[in-house]
Every structure is written in C-alpha cells, then in structure tokens.
C-alpha cells in the first residue's frame, strides 16, 4: 500500500477551510457561527473517538468486544429509525420491531459476508465485520424508516378502505396488504436508485477510501460490487420484515385498525 498518511499539521491545514464557512456566515450575517462551531467540534470528537475505539478493538481481535460494538451500533441505528418518524406509532414496540429487524438483518448479512464471501482470518476479524455491519445498518435503517413512515401515512389516508376490508372479514394482514406493498416499494427505492446511479455521478465512499489507500481501482470496484449486493439484499430483507411489523403495529389482536394510535380519532 502506498497511501500518504496525514500528519496533525495536515489536519490543521484542512481545518483552516472550515474557518472559511465561519467567515461566510459572519460576512453574510447568516448567524450560523455557533452551529458551524458545534458541528465541527462534534464531527472531530466523534470521528476521533471512533478512530481510537476501532483501533483498540482491531488490536484485540476479541469476538466479545466485536459483538459488543456491533450491538451498540444496532441499538443506535434502531433509535435513528424512530427519530426519523414524522409521527410515532407504537413507541417502544416500534423501537423493538425496528431494532429487532436491524439486529436480525445485520447478523445474517455480516455472517454471510464473513463466512461465505470474504472469509477473513479469523472470520470475526473486527476490521471486516464492523465496517460491513455499519454499511448494512446504515442502508437498512433508511429503508425501515421509509417503510414505517409510508405505512402510517398510507393507513391514515386509506382508513376507509382498510376498515371496509376488515368489516368484510379480512384479517389484519389481508386488509393492510396494499399499504404494506406500498411501504415495501418505497423502502426499496433508495437502494435501487443508488445501484443504478453509482459510479457515474459519484464514487461510493468505500471505493474512494480504498483507492486513496492505494488499492487497485478494479479490486476496489469488485469490493464495491460485493458490498452493493450485500446491502441490497439486507435492505430488501429488512424492508419486508419491517413492513410486516408495521402492519402488525397499526392493527391489534382483534384485527382492528388502531385509529387512536394513528391519531385518527
């Protein structure tokens, strides 16, 4: 590998650039100085901390430590799903469904990538496990948030249709099927668009990173293609599970639409 390591002075030189943002805000009286400063400090502290934490975990190569870090990532991603909801339905149950889905999808996707596709030594090598899990979680959580949002919105809009089907004797999953299909389609849209547009407008972050680190671009592309397949499959699995969970969430055990929870009363 022939990448150029960055010195602290190099970083300082880059930090000068953010000062330009601050000056722009001051000159144009945007009043964003505080936000810029806060965002800058958060970014530096968070990325720095992640760098040191990952370095520590990579040096240990402990399965326990890797699993602990993976769980933290899943929990935070689950929280992010709810934070992106315009109207929360279900509270802790929704968190449970979102996080449970992310956990399951992350586990399956990472295990498959480690044992069948990449095969590092040992198979739980955190240098491979954690970045791949991160990419899987990031994309799946986008899909799941979209599914939840779409399903609650569509259920509000189509209340009469759903309740008509329930009144005719359909089950909670039969009556919400069109809403669920709508949710799955919407949840899959970002990853399908990303696959179609990737490489033309922008190089994916991981591929860029590998190229900067001195990897042959063709090898980097192969890695990126592999990752895209993993992410697409994970998102599809996560979106379908979340859609079924969403249908379950907006209905109750007596096959009723939970109109109060949807804010319809």
């Amino acid at each position: 590998m022939n990448y150029v390591p960055l010195s602290w002075i190099d970083l300082a030189a880059a930090a000068v650039l953010i000062v330009f943002n601050g000056m722009l805000s001051w000159v144009l009286r945007l009043g964003l100085e505080r936000s810029i400063a806060l965002a800058t400090v958060r970014m530096v502290v968070q990325l720095g901390a992640v760098g040191f934490v990952l370095k520590f975990i990579f040096e240990q190569t402990s399965p326990l430590l890797t699993a602990a870090m993976a769980l933290v990532m899943v929990a935070v991603a689950g929280h992010e799903v709810l934070a992106r909801q315009e109207a929360r339905v279900g509270g802790w149950t929704a968190y449970g469904i979102g996080t449970g889905t992310l956990f399951f999808v992350g586990l399956v996707a990472t295990l498959y990538s480690m044992t069948v596709i990449i095969g590092p030594e040992p198979w739980y090598a955190p240098r491979y496990v954690l970045p791949i899990l991160g990419m899987v979680l990031g994309n799946t959580l986008t899909g799941i948030s979209l599914v939840f949002n779409t399903i609650t919105q569509a259920a509000r809009r189509d209340r009469a249709a759903i309740e008509a089907r329930l009144a005719l004797g359909e089950t909670r999953f039969g009556a919400t099927s069109s809403v669920v299909v709508h949710g799955v389609k919407t949840g899959l849209m970002p990853i399908l668009n990303a696959m179609a547009a990737t490489g033309i407008v922008m190089l994916p972050g991981m591929m860029t990173g590998q190229i900067l680190a001195g990897i042959d671009p063709v090898e980097a592309a192969k890695y990126q293609i592999m990752i895209m397949f993993v992410i697409a499959a994970s998102t599809a699995l996560g979106v379908i599970l979340a859609a079924i969970g969403g249908a379950w969430l907006i209905t109750d055990a007596r096959h009723r639409l939970r109109v109060a929870a949807l804010g319809l009363t």
């Binding site: 009469a160 309740e163 096959h255 109109v259």
Partner: protein, 212 residues
C-alpha cells in the same frame, strides 16, 4: 338473535338491548350522539367494554374476521381499495347471486368493470351494499344506507332491506329519515340527551337501554 349487554360506547351510558331474527332496530339521535360508534363497536371495529352475543356466542369467543363475516358493518362512506368494483368481490363469487343483488339494487352489471372512481356516490353506496350482502351475513349494521340516494334508489334499498329481514337477518338501521324508520323498524333506540319516549314499538329505559 343479537343481544347487546352493558356495551359502553363513547360517552353513552351502558347499552343493553336485543334484536331478534327478522327484526329491525332503528338507532336514532342527533349527530355526534354515537350512532356510528355503536355500530362499529358491535362489529368489533372499535374496542368497547361490555358484551355482544350472536345466538349465545360472545364476540370475543369468536375470531374477529369470522365475527365480522356474520355481523357486518356497512359504512356511510364505504372504502374501496382496488381498481374496479369487481375486484372487491371474491374471485369465486356466485355470479347468479351477484346479478340478482345488483338487479335488486338498481345497478347495471356493466358498472362492475368500471373504475370505482367513476361510479356516482349513490352507485358506490349501493355497490357497497351488494359487496357486503354477497356472503350473506346474519346481522346487518347499516349506517345511513339511503342518505345519499335519490328517492327511487332509496326505495329499492329499503325493499332490499325488507327482503333481508324476510330471510331472517337481524338489521340495525341508522337513519335520519323518519318515513324510512316507520316503514322498516320494529324497535327504536334513541341515543343522546333527548328524553321523550320513542313513539311506536320501543321505549327507553332509565339507564339508556331500550326495551320492547
């Protein structure tokens, strides 16, 4: 026989009443008095304290979809989820029965294959009636079945309801049309603050329930 016992709906006092097969109970009261909520609670579309029995079986003893196949709620503004009216019927629907019901409601068979959005309000209302009667539910909970209909269509629907009564169905009817109530109802249930005893077949008990 449909028996409602101590059913707690909205702000209303607990309701207790019985409607036998081939009988029609009209439910009256000002807007917002809970007529629709009562019908929804009987169909188990809303959670409500109290009991609803159909021939001795309480609703919670039966799976909700099965209950609603026997105790059918007909919304005042029926919902549609597929492209054409025909898509709202089971694929193995009895064609002869469907034709007869359409005919009795004054609907042309051709309407089945038009987009539901192109049907008029009255046609949609009657189509929803056909859709809900095709699998022969035992109890019909009708929420203003004729409110949006012209006199001629309303008369057809009334005739259809009368036919259902002859076939042994239990009918609960929410209507704002006194003439329709007079023609169809055997019992009357008055909801809301109005204290006057309902004329005719039923009377109001002090706890708000009706007796014959």
């Amino acid at each position: 026989m449909l028996r409602v016992e101590k059913l707690k709906v909205g702000m209303l006092p607990p309701l207790t009443f019985e409607v036998a097969a081939s009988e029609c109970l009209s439910i009256e009261g000002p807007s917002g008095s809970g007529k629709t909520l009562l019908l929804r609670a009987i169909a188990d579309l809303d959670d409500a304290e109290g009991y609803v029995f159909l021939d001795g079986a309480e609703r919670r003893e039966i799976s909700a979809p099965v209950w609603r196949r026997r105790v059918r709620y007909f919304a005042a503004e029926p919902g549609w989820w597929a492209a054409t009216a025909r898509d709202h019927f089971p694929a193995d629907v009895d064609a002869g029965r469907l034709d007869r019901l359409l005919d009795a409601s004054g609907l042309r068979a051709g309407l089945l294959d038009q987009p539901t959005g192109q049907l008029s309000t009255g046609e949609r209302l009657r189509m929803a009636l056909v859709r809900g009667l095709i699998d022969e539910p035992r109890v019909l909970l009708l929420d203003e079945p004729t409110a949006a209909l012209d006199a001629q269509s309303a008369a057809l629907v009334d005739e259809l309801i009368r036919f259902q009564l002859l076939a042994g169905r239990v009918v609960l009817l929410v209507s704002h049309d006194p003439a329709e109530i007079d023609r169809l109802a055997h019992q009357r249930l008055q909801l809301g603050a109005v204290k006057r005893p309902a004329a005719g077949f039923g009377r109001l008990l002090p706890d708000g329930s009706a007796a014959r």
